[in-house]
């Protein structure tokens, strides 16, 4: 026995890490820390810094002097409208995806077993495997005046309903693909998996005997849902809403392709840093979603959304 121990080599890398577990932790953490700390947070910080500079209107050059004048520009009527439009769209998309996702996630977590569960994962994940641009253009065709939605509505003799919907002021338009409704539908479709998966994961962690215990204590299924299932699923829904909300706030492709071409925060940033070359204002605009998300998370925390974590 002792001979075998003495014979084994003491020089291996794993032996070294066994004796110096602190160095192992360091070796594992260093690359991601460099990436997150320097590349990721560093560039975010650089962006923040840019937003405190301003653009010289005559020369078109960035003036490297600290000023709040760029932030002032955010509060012009045009820019406030852009921010409001984006925030309202993001909020609506988030609420709608939470409502659509919950029953799907609930079914997958509570009832689906074996093959059905696999089918659920494939159905939710598969859209993520194909190109985002292709999907958005596909939706443009689906929602177009000559598209399948109009065709189906006509065949069902529901064309009048579609026309009525499109004639609603603000959200209506020439066709679905040229209206806020279209933009909303595509946002909802594209971000839905990001809401379903965290919600399903949260529901998966609610043990069956919590539901039994609640029923045992006299709660009807409706009361159990409200007082036990929903609060425990909330962290998942909030996690999903962070995705849907922030992704909508920052997206610049969908509003360009589907909708009435009115600017969103994303498209504005895209235009400002490109053709206009106004990097400071573009930077200030990108700070807006960060601030909105911060406020949103603070409110969610206050309301106890993370109590079950």
């Amino acid at each position: 026995m002792s001979a075998a121990v003495a014979n084994s080599s003491r020089g291996g890398l794993s032996d070294f890490f066994y004796r110096n577990s602190g160095l192992l932790t360091l070796a594992l953490l260093l690359p991601p820390l460099l990436w997150i700390g320097v590349v990721y947070l560093g560039s975010l910080f650089a962006l923040l810094l840019q937003s405190f500079y301003s653009l010289d209107e005559f020369s078109g050059l960035v003036v490297h002097e600290f000023t709040l004048s760029t932030y002032e520009q955010l509060f012009t009527a045009t820019n406030l409208t852009i921010i409001l439009r984006t925030a309202v769209m993001a909020a609506l998309v988030t609420v709608a995806s939470a409502i659509v996702a919950f029953p799907i996630a609930y079914y997958a977590a509570r009832y689906a077993r074996g093959g059905w569960k696999a089918l659920f994962y494939i159905a939710v994940m598969m859209p993520l495997w194909s190109s985002y641009l292709v999907k958005v253009y596909a939706w443009k065709l689906i929602l177009a005046k000559e598209g399948i939605v109009t065709w189906v509505a006509d065949k069902l003799h529901l064309g009048w309903l579609l026309d009525a919907l499109l004639s609603v002021p603000v959200i209506g338009g020439a066709s679905l693909s040229f209206s806020y409704i279209g933009t909303f539908i595509v946002f909802l479709y594209i971000w839905l998996p990001y809401m379903i998966l965290p919600t399903q994961a949260a529901l998966e962690r609610v043990p069956k005997n919590f539901i039994e215990a609640s029923a045992d204590l006299g709660a009807s299924p409706r009361q159990t849902f409200r007082t036990v299932i929903l609060p425990l699923a909330m962290p998942g829904v909030i996690a999903g809403s962070i995705f849907t909300f922030s992704l909508t706030l920052g997206d610049y492709i969908i509003p360009q392709i589907v909708g009435n071409s009115r600017p969103f925060i994303g498209t504005t940033v895209y235009a400002l840093q490109g053709t206009a070359g106004d990097i400071p204002l573009a930077a200030a605009f990108t700070v807006v979603p960060v601030v909105i998300m911060g406020i949103y998370l603070m409110i969610a925390r206050r309301l106890g959304a993370f109590d079950a974590l």
Binding site: P207, E212, S214, A215, L217, G218, A219, D307, A308
Partner: protein, 336 residues
């Protein structure tokens, strides 16, 4: 007066598996009733049938004379203490205990007072603001108990409630549960696989095997007069003597149970009185256990184990030993 719980030919099948197979039983009001059996014997399914988490495949269940099948759990006046407690992690201990009252619509002040009262009853005064995650296993167990009792159920169901506790705590909780049951007078139905627990706590024990009740009676009944080899083996440990051996040593020609503590050492050359029998053999094992010493001898292939009081004799493995017992300690059983 109707029975607290009554099963009439109740079966619960899961596909091909007969989890509960034609069980009939009556539990009287105020009884401390234990369902004892190995895992998979159907005892927990029976409890879930009373709670309403399962519906019988066939048969009839009554709770205080009221038909129970088809009645959802939230409309039954029974409460359950779950095996892993099932405390809600997003509520404080106080909110957990007051949950049933909140659901019933009891006003906040009243239900909080009652929750505090229930917590005091299980000796957890001052714990109401904590989270279940901040409690030890034993404390969670008490919260689960308070949460059930605060609703003043007519029947309290306990599903292996002490299973997760360590030995000392378990013994303490056994005493407390028993005292609580006496004080409140509520019918307790208790599921356990621990025969010691069942014997020490219950007024009446039903022993389950393969979805059926194989024997029911008082703890003494079940222990002293096991009706089958399964019961003799499962409740305590027993010598199960084959028919030929039993007939030759004071019993009848049947499978026979002989409890180890009914056996004494036969002194060499003693004259045995009427109804006394003995067997000799080599000692195959000696286990010192403090209060008793367990000794097993081999009598021509039949193993006989005795539990001897500490300090009676110094016995070595391999030595010859005679063991003696009275004929009325032998209990004839069904062969199964």
């Amino acid at each position: 007066m109707p029975a607290a719980v009554s099963f009439q030919h109740v079966s619960r099948h899961f596909g091909q598996v007969k989890a509960v197979d034609d069980v009939s039983l009556d539990i009287a009001e105020g009884e401390f009733f234990a369902m004892l059996g190995p895992s998979g014997s159907g005892k927990t399914t029976c409890l879930r049938l009373i709670a309403g988490f399962e519906q019988p495949t066939s048969g009839h269940i009554e709770i205080f004379g009221e038909t129970a099948e088809g009645l959802p759990p939230y409309k039954r006046n029974v409460n359950t203490v779950f095996q892993d407690y099932a405390l809600f992690p997003h509520m404080t201990v106080g909110e957990n205990v007051a949950y049933g009252l909140m659901i019933k619509g009891v006003a906040r002040a009243e239900r909080e007072a009652k929750a505090l009262e229930a917590l005091a009853m299980v000796k957890l005064k001052g714990f109401d603001q904590r989270r279940p995650s901040q409690l030890s296993g034993g404390q969670r167990q008490r919260v689960a108990l308070a949460r059930a009792l605060v609703n003043q159920p007519k029947v309290l169901l306990l599903d292996e409630p002490l299973g997760a506790l360590d030995l000392k705590l378990r013994e303490q909780m056994q005493e407390e549960l028993k005292a609580l049951q006496k004080q409140l007078g509520i019918t307790f139905v208790f599921v356990t696989h621990d025969q010691g627990e069942a014997l020490s706590m219950a007024n009446r024990v039903a022993i389950f095997n393969d979805g059926k009740i194989v024997q029911a009676g008082s703890p003494a009944d079940v222990y002293e007069r096991p009706c089958s080899r399964f019961v003799a083996d499962f409740v305590g440990s027993s010598n199960v003597l084959p028919p030929d051996f039993a007939a030759a040593h004071g019993g009848t020609h049947a499978w026979t149970s002989l409890r180890p503590e009914k056996i004494r050492i036969a002194a060499a050359g003693e004259t045995r009185g009427h109804g006394q029998f003995a067997a000799s053999g080599r000692v195959t094992s000696v286990q010192y256990q403090g209060a008793i010493t367990r000794v097993a001898i081999d009598v021509n292939g039949t193993r006989i184990a005795a539990a001897l009081p500490a300090g009676v004799a110094d016995i070595q493995e391999g030595q010859a030993l005679s063991l003696a017992w009275a004929a009325d300690s032998l209990v004839a059983m069904e062969p199964a």
